[in-house]
C-alpha cells in the first residue's frame, strides 16, 4: 500500500484504492476550491469535524466568560445583558454547531467505511449540507455585534421572552437556526439513504456496527423533529414581524404552547446528541476489552426504544407550568421508563468489560469515563423526572449539572473517544500516547470539578442563568470556575494531539487496534480518498 509520508496523509489522493480503480476518479481541483467543491465523504467528514472543533472553542470561550463572571459573587467583568448573551450563545453554539456537526462529521467519515459503501448516497447534497453550517453560524455569531446584542433569552428561546421582549437581532437568530436545521435535515436524509441502500452485499441490518445503527435511528429523530423546530421558529418569526399571536396572550395566543412545541422538538434533540455516542462507545469497549459486545440485538432494540420514548416525555421540562396531575404523572412515569433501555445499555457495556482483557489506550479511557460519568448524569436525570422533586430542582444549577454531565463527559467525551479511536484510520498515525493521557486525565478532573459542585449549589437553591449569586454559593462557584478553566485549557492539548497526529507519529497498520473488527479496519491506514469502489464481501463473524 502506498503510505504517503508527506505532511497531509489523510488528504493525499492515493493511487492505491481498495479496488485499485483510482483512474475512474477525476483529480480534485486544487486549493480552496477543492474544499468548497468536494463531494468526497472523507473530506466532508473532515470539514465537519474541523468546523465543530472551531465552534467547540468559540462556545468554550463563551463558557469561560460565564465562569469568570461567576468566579466570585457580585458583578465584576460583564454586564448582566452581556452575561445573558454569553449563556445563550454558549448553549446554542455547543448544541447546534459543536456537538451535532461533530457527530455528523464522524458519520460522514465512518458510515460508508463501516458498511462498505464507496461514498454517501448523495455526495453533492452532502457538500451543500456542510457549507450551510458556516453560513448559519457566521450569521448567528454576527448578532453579537448588532445593535441590541445577540440572543439573550437562553438557548431554549421561550416566547414571548424571545418575541415581544427579544432583541432586534432575533430575526437573524431565527434565520440562522433555519439554515442550521436544513443542514441537519439534509444530512439525515443522506445518512438514511446511504445506510438503507448502500450496504455491502451480504450485510443485513442486524449485521451493521452499532455506530451505524444509532445514527440511522438518530436520523429518523432528526427528520421527525427538526421540522417542528422549523415550525416553532417560523411562528416566532411571524409573531415578531407579521403581527400574528401564536405565543402572545394579548391576541389569543398561549406562551405555554411555545414550551410544548419547543420541547416536543427539544427532548428528541437531547437523544440526537447522545445516541451516536452510544454507538461509538459500543465500538470502542469491545475492541479494548478484547471481547465481543454483549447483547448486540438488545443494544439495537434499546436504542429504538429510547428514540420512541423520547416523543412521550417532553413535558417533564415543564412540570412547573401548571400541568394537571394526570399529565404530571404520565410524563413522570414515561421519563422514568427511559431508564430501562438506558440501563440495558450500561449493563451491556459492563458485561462486555467483565472478564475482558482490558487495556487503557486513550479511546478506551474516554469510553470508560463516558460510561461512569454519563451514568451519573442519568441518575440526576431520574431525580429530575420525579415531578414533586422537580418543583425544587427546576431552573436551578442542579439542572445545569445534570445536562452538562450527559453532554460533556457524555456526548463530548464520546466524540473525543471516537476521534482517538479513528485517528489512526484517518491519518495513518497513532495519536501521541503521553499527550493523550494528559488530555484525558486533565479533562476528567476538570469536568468533575466544574460540574459536580453545581449539584450542591442547585440543591441549595442557586438559580441558573443569573450573573450574581448569594454568598453561601461562593465556594461551590469558585471550584466550578477553576475546574472550568482547567477543562478549557486542557482542550488545547486535544488540538495539539490531533495536529501532531496529522503531521506524523507512530505508523498505524490497516488494523490499527488488535481486536477491532468492523469493515473500516480492512482498508489501509490512512484511508485512501476512495475506498470500496468495488463492494467488499461482508463476512459475518462466527458467533
Amino acid at each position: 500500500m502506498a503510505m504517503n509520508p508527506g505532511s497531509k496523509p489523510v488528504l493525499q489522493h492515493s493511487t492505491a484504492t481498495a479496488g485499485g480503480m483510482a483512474e475512474a476518479h477525476p483529480a480534485p481541483p486544487s486549493g480552496l476550491l477543492r474544499w468548497l467543491l468536494t463531494t468526497n465523504h472523507k473530506e466532508i467528514g473532515s470539514l465537519y469535524l474541523i468546523f465543530s472543533l472551531v465552534m467547540f472553542f468559540i462556545g468554550g470561550i463563551f463558557a469561560m466568560v460565564v465562569r469568570a463572571e461567576l468566579f466570585q459573587p457580585g458583578l465584576q467583568l460583564v454586564q448582566p445583558e452581556f452575561f445573558n448573551q454569553m449563556t445563550t450563545m454558549h448553549g446554542l453554539i455547543m448544541v447546534f454547531a459543536a456537538v451535532m456537526p461533530a457527530f455528523t462529521g464522524l458519520a460522514n467519515w465512518m458510515i460508508p467505511l463501516q458498511i462498505g459503501a464507496p461514498d454517501m448516497a448523495l455526495p453533492r447534497l452532502n457538500n451543500f449540507s456542510f457549507w450551510l453550517l458556516p453560513v448559519a453560524f457566521t450569521l448567528l455569531l454576527s448578532t453579537l455585534f448588532m445593535p441590541g446584542g445577540g440572543p439573550n433569552f437562553g438557548w431554549t428561546f421561550y416566547a414571548p421572552l424571545s418575541t415581544t421582549y427579544g432583541p432586534p437581532s432575533t430575526t437573524f437568530f431565527i434565520l440562522s437556526l433555519h439554515i442550521a436545521g436544513i443542514s441537519s435535515i439534509l444530512g439525515a436524509i443522506n445518512i438514511i439513504a446511504t445506510i438503507l441502500n448502500m450496504r455491502a452485499p451480504g450485510m443485513r441490518m442486524m449485521d451493521m456496527p452499532l455506530f451505524v445503527w444509532t445514527w440511522l435511528i438518530t436520523s429518523f429523530l432528526l427528520i421527525a423533529v427538526m421540522p417542528v423546530l422549523a415550525g416553532v421558529i417560523t411562528m416566532m418569526l411571524m409573531d415578531i414581524n407579521f403581527g400574528t399571536s401564536f405565543f402572545d396572550a394579548a391576541g389569543g395566543g398561549d406562551p405555554v404552547l411555545f414550551q410544548h412545541l419547543f420541547w416536543f422538538f427539544g427532548h428528541p434533540e437531547v437523544y440526537i446528541m447522545i445516541l451516536p455516542a452510544f454507538g461509538i462507545v459500543s465500538a470502542i469497549i469491545p475492541t479494548f476489552a478484547r471481547k465481543r459486545l454483549f447483547g448486540y440485538a438488545s443494544m439495537v432494540y434499546a436504542t429504538a426504544a429510547i428514540a420512541i420514548l423520547s416523543f412521550l416525555v417532553w413535558a417533564h421540562h415543564m412540570f412547573v407550568v401548571g400541568l394537571p396531575l394526570v399529565a404530571e404523572l404520565f410524563f413522570m412515569y414515561c421519563t422514568m421508563l427511559i431508564a430501562v433501555p438506558t440501563g440495558v445499555k450500561v449493563f451491556n457495556w459492563i458485561t462486555t468489560l467483565f472478564r475482558g482483557s482490558i487495556s487503557f489506550e486513550p479511546p478506551m479511557l474516554f469510553a470508560l469515563a463516558f460510561v461512569v460519568l454519563f451514568t451519573i448524569g442519568g441518575f440526576s436525570g431520574l431525580m429530575l423526572a420525579i415531578a414533586p422533586a422537580d418543583f425544587q430542582y427546576h431552573d436551578t444549577y442542579f439542572v445545569v449539572a445534570h445536562f452538562h454531565y450527559v453532554l460533556v463527559p457524555g456526548a463530548v467525551f464520546a466524540i473525543m473517544a471516537g476521534v482517538y479511536y479513528w485517528l489512526p484510520k484517518w491519518t495513518g498515525h497513532y495519536p501521541n500516547e503521553r499527550l493523550a493521557q494528559w488530555h484525558f486525565w486533565l479533562s476528567v478532573v476538570g469536568v468533575n470539578l466544574t460540574f459536580f459542585p453545581m449539584h450542591f449549589a442547585g440543591l441549595a437553591g442557586m438559580p441558573r442563568r443569573i450573573p450574581d449569586y448569594a454568598l453561601q454559593f461562593a465556594d461551590f462557584n469558585l471550584v466550578s470556575s477553576l475546574g472550568a478553566f482547567l477543562f478549557g485549557a486542557s482542550q488545547l492539548l486535544f488540538v495539539a494531539v490531533v495536529v501532531l497526529c496529522v503531521r506524523g507519529g507512530r505508523r498505524a497498520p490497516a488494523q490499527a487496534w488488535d481486536y477491532a473488527e468492523d469493515l473500516e479496519w480492512s482498508v489501509p491506514s490512512p484511508a485512501p480518498l476512495h475506498t470500496f469502489d468495488t463492494p467488499p464481501t461482508f463476512e459475518r463473524p462466527a458467533h
Binding site: 448523495l122 439513504a193 448502500m198 411562528m235 404552547l257 401548571g322 394537571p324 469502489d533
Partner: protein
C-alpha cells in the same frame, strides 16, 4: 467486476428513500402548525391550562349546594403598554356552588386618548376552569374607553355543583392587553347577548 459506480444499482432505492423522507419532513412541518389549533381544542375540551369558554353560558338551575363554600379570588393585571387600570370591587368572596354571583369590575382609562383593550382571563387551578360558568363577562369582547373614561362592568358567574370537592379556592386572573383599533370593531361584533346560550 461490478459496475464502477456500485450505488448506481441502488439509485432507485436511494430515490425512494429520499422521497419518503421528504414526505415525512413535510408532514412533520404541517403537524407542527396543526398542533396550534389542536392544542387549543385539547385545552378547551379538557380545561387544561386554565382556558375557559370564550362565550357566555346559560345559568344552570339545579339548586345551590349550601353545604359547601368555595373561595373565589380575583386578580387583575394591567400593563403591556395600555394606560388602563382594572379594579375589582372585592378581591375575594366565598360562594356556594350553583349560586350565580355578580362582581363589578371597574375599567379606568388613564390615558389622554381613546383606546381599545381586552381583558384575557385565566383560571387556576385548571381543573376548576370547566366548572366555572360565565353568564356575563367583559372578557368576551374588546372594550373601548374614551380618554379618562371610567366604566363599571359586571361579571356574572356560577360554579357548577360538580366542582371537584378538593377544590377549595378558585382564582380568576384578568390581564389587560391593548387591541389595535383597526381590528377591534370586527372582533367586537362576535359578542353574544348576556346570558344567551352561545
Amino acid at each position: 467486476m461490478t459496475s464502477s459506480d456500485p450505488h448506481r444499482d441502488n439509485r432507485a432505492g436511494v430515490r425512494r428513500t429520499v422521497w419518503r423522507s421528504v414526505a415525512a419532513l413535510a408532514g412533520m412541518f404541517a403537524f407542527a402548525f396543526a398542533l396550534v389549533p389542536l392544542y387549543d381544542v385539547f385545552c378547551q375540551v379538557t380545561g387544561l391550562n386554565g382556558k375557559v369558554n370564550n362565550s357566555a353560558q346559560a345559568v344552570m338551575h339545579d339548586g345551590v349546594d349550601e353545604s359547601r363554600l368555595v373561595t373565589v379570588q380575583f386578580i387583575t393585571r394591567s400593563g403591556s403598554g395600555l394606560p388602563w387600570q382594572l379594579e375589582v370591587e372585592t378581591r375575594q368572596m366565598r360562594v356556594h356552588p350553583g349560586q350565580p354571583t355578580e362582581v363589578s369590575f371597574t375599567f379606568d382609562n388613564q390615558g389622554d386618548e381613546e383606546s381599545w383593550g381586552r381583558a384575557v382571563p385565566s383560571v387556576s387551578p385548571s381543573q376548576a376552569s370547566q366548572h366555572l360558568r360565565k353568564i356575563s363577562c367583559f372578557c368576551f369582547d374588546e372594550q373601548r374607553l374614551e380618554a379618562g373614561e371610567r366604566r363599571d362592568i359586571p361579571l356574572v358567574f356560577q360554579l357548577s355543583r360538580d366542582l371537584p370537592p378538593d377544590v377549595k379556592t378558585v382564582t380568576l386572573v384578568y390581564t389587560l392587553y391593548p387591541v389595535e383599533a383597526r381590528n377591534a370593531p370586527q372582533q367586537a361584533s362576535a359578542v353574544t347577548l348576556e346570558g344567551e346560550q352561545s
